[in-house]
Subunit: 226 residues, 2 copies
Amino acid sequence: MKGKNFFLQIPLFEGLPEENLSLLRKIAQEKRYPAKTLVFSEGDEATGFYVVISGRVKIFKVSASGKEQILHIFGPGEPFGEVAVFAGMNFPAYAQTLEESHLLYFPRKDFVRLIEQEPSLALNMLAVLSRRLRQFAAMIEALALKEVSERLAAYLLLLAERQGRELVELEINKGQLASLLGTTPETISRVFTRLAREGYVEMEGRRIHLRAKEALQELAAGLRRL
Amino acid sequence: MKGKNFFLQIPLFEGLPEENLSLLRKIAQEKRYPAKTLVFSEGDEATGFYVVISGRVKIFKVSASGKEQILHIFGPGEPFGEVAVFAGMNFPAYAQTLEESHLLYFPRKDFVRLIEQEPSLALNMLAVLSRRLRQFAAMIEALALKEVSERLAAYLLLLAERQGRELVELEINKGQLASLLGTTPETISRVFTRLAREGYVEMEGRRIHLRAKEALQELAAGLRRL
């Protein structure tokens, strides 16, 4: 089965002990679909979930006026339908292949039986998902912080251009600036401190000297990191 | 128990049916710790996980030279130690209260027994975590895309400044530009298309007219959305 080694590359199962993986392999069914084939429809009973081995699958809703709204496109290694299956709901959207696709199908009733026989599978999957959630949360935090330094640099350059000089005056307080840039005053303060420490700016209350305009521009463009 | 209604505000348990929640409530123990109290140490057997009711808890490692490295700070509603508990490992780090803290403690052996008796609890928790993972992935995608449009705007302004005019010439191809801005050529193309459609720029192969410089500056500063 092509899917056998493939199991090691599925993030949903990453780090599961071999005895758990072999149970999952036993219940998995390989399915092949031509391009543009409906895998399931909105409202269908969620009798099993899928993992893409190859190909791509789009998940979409259809509005009352018949307009299609794509929610996700999933590719190799990614599961779909699993939330509905775990929660015991009906599928909340349609799934259709975009190209010829090779999928693994995990029937719900077999999966539930496995968990009843072997609770360690559930615990280990909870561990996998909790760990990924932690990683994602860290990634969101890093992206948000990076974003704030880029935006603040761009905002200071915008002020310099508007005020016609490199000694700019903040017209609003830190709280207002934070809400303007979609972040918190604490984050703004942290970024200002680092900008000053690394020589981009010199601060004097609300007056800010832009000491390295070109470097600030590169920061705003993401070509340089704080 | 103060923690009783509090259960509804714990994202780890969000949307669990009442019968699952009442099982969890039965095994939860309330614990109160003064500020700066060690909750567990690195290497301790993970005999249970915690959810913060009030206060704050820092998770940290200590380097060989004795330097403390903070990994996370958790506040109300947030779980900690659950990855180690689900995976049946020892705790990989220290946990210490930063201020007086009120915690819920879920002993591992009781939690495992619950899952054995009631596999629906495991399935529903898998659904909760899968759903949150989906939401986090969507947030990362949105942040990354927003970031790319900000960066591309800032990069075009940087080129305009360097080249001394508002008709700029890309000196590199789209693939190189993508890697410079830390994204993919497809995303760069998508953002260029939207910039052109919304009148920020006019494209002529590698020559780009900046049609709305002030608006591009606001885009770069995150004051305006694409």
